[in-house]
Structures are given as C-alpha cells and as structure tokens.
Symmetry: C3
Subunit: 330 residues, 3 copies
Amino acid sequence: MNHFLSTAELSRDDLGSLLRSAAQYKAGRRQTGELAGRSVALVFLNPSLRTRASMQIAVYELGGNPVLIEPGATSWSIEYRENVVMDSDKTEHLAEFVRVLSRYVSAIGVRTFAEMKNWELERTDPVLSAFARYATVPVINLESAMHHPCQSLADMLTIRERYGEERKRVLLTWAWHPKALPMAVPNSFALAAAQCGHDLVIAHPDGYGLDPELMHAIGTHAELNGGSVEVVNDPEKGFEGADVVYAKSWAPPPFYGRPDAVHSAEQRDKWIVNADKMALTANGVFLHCLPVRRNVIATDEVLDSPNSLIIDEAENRLHVQKAILASLVK
Amino acid sequence: MNHFLSTAELSRDDLGSLLRSAAQYKAGRRQTGELAGRSVALVFLNPSLRTRASMQIAVYELGGNPVLIEPGATSWSIEYRENVVMDSDKTEHLAEFVRVLSRYVSAIGVRTFAEMKNWELERTDPVLSAFARYATVPVINLESAMHHPCQSLADMLTIRERYGEERKRVLLTWAWHPKALPMAVPNSFALAAAQCGHDLVIAHPDGYGLDPELMHAIGTHAELNGGSVEVVNDPEKGFEGADVVYAKSWAPPPFYGRPDAVHSAEQRDKWIVNADKMALTANGVFLHCLPVRRNVIATDEVLDSPNSLIIDEAENRLHVQKAILASLVK
Amino acid sequence: MNHFLSTAELSRDDLGSLLRSAAQYKAGRRQTGELAGRSVALVFLNPSLRTRASMQIAVYELGGNPVLIEPGATSWSIEYRENVVMDSDKTEHLAEFVRVLSRYVSAIGVRTFAEMKNWELERTDPVLSAFARYATVPVINLESAMHHPCQSLADMLTIRERYGEERKRVLLTWAWHPKALPMAVPNSFALAAAQCGHDLVIAHPDGYGLDPELMHAIGTHAELNGGSVEVVNDPEKGFEGADVVYAKSWAPPPFYGRPDAVHSAEQRDKWIVNADKMALTANGVFLHCLPVRRNVIATDEVLDSPNSLIIDEAENRLHVQKAILASLVK
C-alpha cells in the first residue's frame, strides 16, 4: 500500500513532481474529477483549522466527498495497541476502525499529535503506524507525533515560488511558547529542506536538539542532495545571511511525561523573531506553519512585513494536498 | 469588499431585490450553479440549528461546498484584538485565521454571539468587524452581538408572503426567559421593519430599551420609508390592532457583565404571548426566530395556532440566504 | 408518511427487496442520482463511527448532500415531551426542530440511544416516535432505544452473502461488558432473523431476557416464516451446531435507572466468545455490530479468524442504507 506518512519515503524526483503538480493546481484552480464519486475520510484526533478546511476543499475540488471523523468526540475513543484486553476507557480498536473505513473510502487522512507522555514510544509514531498497518487504502499523515509532511511540502513550494530551485540558506529557529509543543513541524521542515538540497541551519537552546536518528537522516539527505546542515545555539547567529527564516516552538524529549514542564522565561525575549533579527538576514522571507502566537513567537512587525509569506504558505497547503491526493488515488 | 453585516447597509431597493430573489429561489427549488466549484466557510463560535443546516443547504443548492469551522472546539481558539501579546489561552489571531480562509473559500459566514460581558465593547460588534476588516472575500453575518440580518430578511419575506408589500402594524414584544439573551434578533427585526416602512411598535418593560444609537437609526429609516416607531411599556397595549406579533426575549445593557442577572419573575406571566393577548390583534400572525421555549415565551396554543408562521419563517432562512450568497459571490 | 423505524413494519417481501437492492448497489458501486439536489439531515444525539460515515457516504453516492446535526453540542438541546413548560435546560422543542428540518431536507436520520434511566418509558422509543410524529419527510432510525434496523439489515445481507436464502441456525449470544448497554442491536437482530425464517437461538444469563412483548412478536414472525426461536441460559449450549454466532452485550430492564449497575464479574470468562466455543459450531461465522472490545466480548483469535465477517458486515451498512434511502425518497 502506497501511503504518505513522511517525505522520507520520497525520492527527490517524487518530491519535485509533487511540487510541480501542486503549482499546476494552483495556477488553474477549478473543480476536476480525480476523486469523482469517491469519499476520503479525514480523521482528527486533535484540533485543526488549515488542515481541516484545506483537506475538505482539496477533496471537493478534486470532485470527491470529504468525511470528517473525530474519535472521542462525535465518534468512539480508539485503542491502537495489539493484544490488549479492552475493558477500560477505549471503545474501539484501530484494527476495526481502519479496516471498516477502508471499505467506505478511497483514502484516509489522519491527525494524531504527540501526547507528550512517553518519548521512546511516541518517537515511533505508534498511532499513525497502526493506521498504515491496518489500512487497505492510502493513509495520509495530517500531522503525527513526528511528522507533518503536508506542511513541509507547502513550505518547500512557498520557498520555490520566491527563489526557484536554487540552493538557499534556510534557518529553522526555535521560539519560546507558553506550552510544550510537539516536534512534528520542525522535524518535517528540516527533513524536506535537506531533501531539497538547501543549506540548513537549525538554531535552538542547548538541550533542545531534534531526535538524533532523524538528525542523522537529515544529514544523509543533505549530503546526497548537495546541501549542508549546521546546528547553532546562539539565537542571532542563525539569522546571519539567511534567505528563509522558519520559526517554530518545540519541546525536546526531557519534556515528555512532565505535563507541567515549561520553557525558561529568559528564553522568551532571547528567541522571539523580531525586526532586529530579521535585519541580519539576506532580506530573508519569514515562514511559520500557523497558528502563530503574535508577539510571542514573532512580533507583529515581522508577521505583517512584506517579507512574511505565512498566508501564501497556508494557501499552499491546499495545492500540495491536491497533488498528494491525486498521486495516491488512481 | 462587499460584506453582508446588517441590513443597515442596504437601500430599500437592495432589500426588495433580495426578497424578490429569495421568493424566486423558493418558488423553483432546485440545484443551480452560482457557487459551482466554490467553497464557503461557515464559522460557528456558538450553537446553531437553523443557520447551520440552512446555510449548508443553501451553499449546496447553489452548487457549492460548505466548510464548517468551530473555533475552540474542532479548531483553534481565536484572538481578535490588535497588538496583543498572545501568551494566554488564545491560540490563533483572526489576522491569520481570516486571511488564510480568504485564500481557500469564496465567502465566509460567521456566527459570533454577544458574550454579555462588556456592553460598550460588544455593541460595536468587535469580532464581526475584525472578520470584515481582515477578509478579502465577502463576510456574511450569521448572528453577531448586535445583528442577525439573515433572520430579519427571512422575517420580512414571511410578512410579505402573508400581506404583500403593504404597510402593516408590526409589534416587537419582549418576553421573559430564564437566561439573559443578546439583542441581535430584536435589533435586526426592528431595523428591517423600519426599512420596509411598517408601523413598528416595540413593547418591553421599563429599562429594557434597545441601543439608543440604533433606535435613532430605526427612527430615521421609518421616517424615510413612510412608517413610524412607537415604544410602549404596557404588555397588552402593543397587541392592539397588530398585524404581526414578533416575540423575543433580550437583556438590556445593565445585564452585561453580570452573569447571574435574571429577569424579575413577575414579568413572566405578564409578558408571555398567549391567546388572550393575540385576541387583541387584528387577526395578527405570530413570528419567532426559534428556538422558542414553549409555554415560556409563548403558549402552545399560540405556537400551534393557524396564525403561527414560525415554520414558514424558519424555512425562509434557506431562501433568503441563497439570495444573499448569490448576490455576494459573482 | 413512510418512515423506516424498525423492520417490524416490513413484510418479508419488502425485506427481501431491500436486501436485493443493497446487493445491487454493492455489486456496481458508483455515484448515482437518486438524491440529486437533495439534502438529508443526519441527527446524532450519540457518538457514531460506522453510521455517521456510512450514512454520509450513502447520501453522497446517491448524489445528495448529508447535513450533520448534533443537538446539545453544535446545535441546541432538545425537548420531546408535549405540554411542557420549557424553563429548564432544554432550549428547543422537537415540534419545531423536526418541522423546520422537514422544510430543508428530503429525509431525516436520527440516532437516539436509550438513556438507561426509565425502562417503561424508553421501551416505547419516545424520542424516535416524536421525530416520526412531527416529521413531514421520511425518518430513518439510525439506532434508537429499542431498534437498530440499518444494522440488522446489514447483518441479514452478510448472512445471505455467505449462505444464500437458506434457513440457518443463528445464535444471538450475550457477552459481558464493563458498562450497561442498550438493547437495540439484539432486539433488531433477533427480529430480523425471525423475519428471515431462521432457527434463532438466544443465549443469555438468567434474568437477561429481551422485552417480553418484543419476544412475542419475534415468535410470531418466526412461526409465520417457517423458523423457530429458542432461549438458553447455558453459554455453551447455543454454540452447538450454529451457522452464525452474533455476540452482543446488553443490560436487561432492572439495570435501568441504576447508573452504577454492572454485570457480575464471573460472567466475564463464562460468556466471552473464544475459539473453544466457536469449535462447537457448524464451522459458523462470527458477527458483531462494532465497536467491539477485543478480548472482552470476543478474543483476538475469533475476531481475526477467517470466519469473522465483522468487516464485511460493517461494509454492508453502506449498501443497505443506500437501498433504504432510495426506497424512501422518490
């Protein structure tokens, strides 16, 4: 079964082909028939605006029928572990949930955030993996514990729209946030930037590094595609000469299982993206996956500047998802 | 940008033209193509039956795709104030929320009730105004703190179906309710009745008057269109000779910011619409926006009488909304 | 008005005709036009996966527009009793809710579980009955306090797919569950099995019998259609020679009004469906309406065996519902 779980599974050609297809959908936006008469399940275990709206619209614009499912709310709570005696709070097993949906629909999109409880478990993306294991139709990752590939494809399209296919200096920079957030977005962004052969700089406080195994894969992709990877712990250093600034908060593994853990308050002003930091870049553009907390992650001045591409980036979610859906459902 | 926020922005011609268009949609109900291939976002910050169902169906019957969004539930909680440091409970700013949606859809409907906390602020309809300010597609008010223009157009259509375009004696009468309710429905009904040139009587307990600035606008519209406005505090007086009785509970400004404030119990029997009061009218019809608490706002006898047009009125929501959507999205 | 509330209202011919229609929809799955331009309301007062997804898809595949309504959540809370003074927690009366929806849509599906509070009341299916009484379009029961006819039609189709129209030995067997569950599924399964002329065995602990009036009707249908009904209290006995094993937990009348009532723990191992019990059957197939608690109702070994038809059974929900919708909406 051909799933879309992360960009790691895509060759550089696959990736380029999806981005070209997305650009074509964007250029000539109209209703087409790739999904005519077909339904696509969109399973949300977590809140969503862009993903929820843009996936519904992507399915509709391809001629199909989006079916939203919210386990634990309008639908049953689900168990994913095997060989479990289900006498507790979970009502339905993914073994049935996913196999039944596979009979009804032509593809299944699923959002399942990290619970931030058990790093060793969650870094393996157990819920998403169970979906993929049981499904007999393609599964699309709409953000899992470890990856958000629809987002990173939209990010890459947005960079290409500005700079073409050139190798660019791309900064992924950590930011303070009142809550501990998962790593799916920075993981997928860093991976895709490496796959596109950019010079990637990752800036974060000491101890906030991404998953070592993933960092190894990112390094391999960078090398293969003529790019590079650099990690810095100085909040200003990454901005120097950057063509792209991608801001995102995340919590490293030691935060998992500690629901009250917060980032140190002194990091707040130190890491916020403001005009002073943007002035260090090569007239760089600003990206963020949204939702963004204004004047916490980045200042109003940065978010509302002409170099802020956040709205284009969100729009591109729609176009890349049409390309992904069309490539999976034949 | 051409929004639909209240009927205040419409000329009498515009209003007449929307009502004629609605009547045509009602007469020949079938699927048409005004919204073919297009999506419309329906943003609900509050519960809804009629608006939610009838807007979905209106978009579908015009050939389009309704996309429901529930901030704070299935979607993120939203901030609308400018220049705020977003380090508290709000996750996304309307500046992004609305600009992103504008890229995905051809129109945005939004329901955002009064919070009943701060009259001076809420009377300016701050959330709806922010939607209109940020949107680059038409915004449709699906009930805001101060207005419910889809409802008042449906009300006017229902009156026309019964009486034609004649000037009629139209009573808006307050009713007791266990909770303090917003003023959007009475505001919009009174405004539209004045714009249609009716003789409007507003009956309410002393101290329950509508917003003075709005009352001034209502007076101006009445004068311009050959009608009149009268306010009475006697529960029986308004019924005398009325052709239309519109019952609705609302809470006046002093209730804002006092979550436990309730209407005095003695007003309950005094203001309920019953057969005795209806007997004072000129065989008048009964209207209510629904949902209606039976035997609290009006008795079963009134609600189930042949003169009760509440179901026609609710049906007309669908038809006027098709007319509104078709007029906004070209 | 022609509603679909239980199979009791169907002749054996009607039932056969629906099953043949369902088989045809399954054989040639494509989008058709029976509901073109029409909307169908799907009202959920309780959670749902299969019903919610499969009804949405059924309506779409017939060319129509499904409209989901969740009273008490995204919509208002509803009152169904007549002559009530609505000054408490219920916001809208079914008298309005259903009559308004009837103006918007071509059919209304409704899920309204037993509340497990008052057996004498709930056994009359008061909420579903009120929907049927007020509706001016067909009402489809998507599981009520007493019946789940869409499920039992899917069950019968699944049995026919395996065995044709032959008379079979069909076991409905009770199972332990951590919560007290309603009787709609066993009621409807037993009724439909009798209507199809099978030899029905119902196995349950002493004191767990189905509603006596319903049991009488089941007996009458069995006799009329050349089948039989037997009740046993021995967990093994029912399995002997069974062609079909249908497992389901339910709570009998004494559990109503006792929210903390639980099934005795010793029944757990005694009644679970496992390989040993299945070995007593005539190579029987295993059915369950889902969601199923693994290793509580039935073991993994049974659920994952080749004789387990639970996924086919769930798929058949879609096909029978298309047949039902098409038969009701002309």
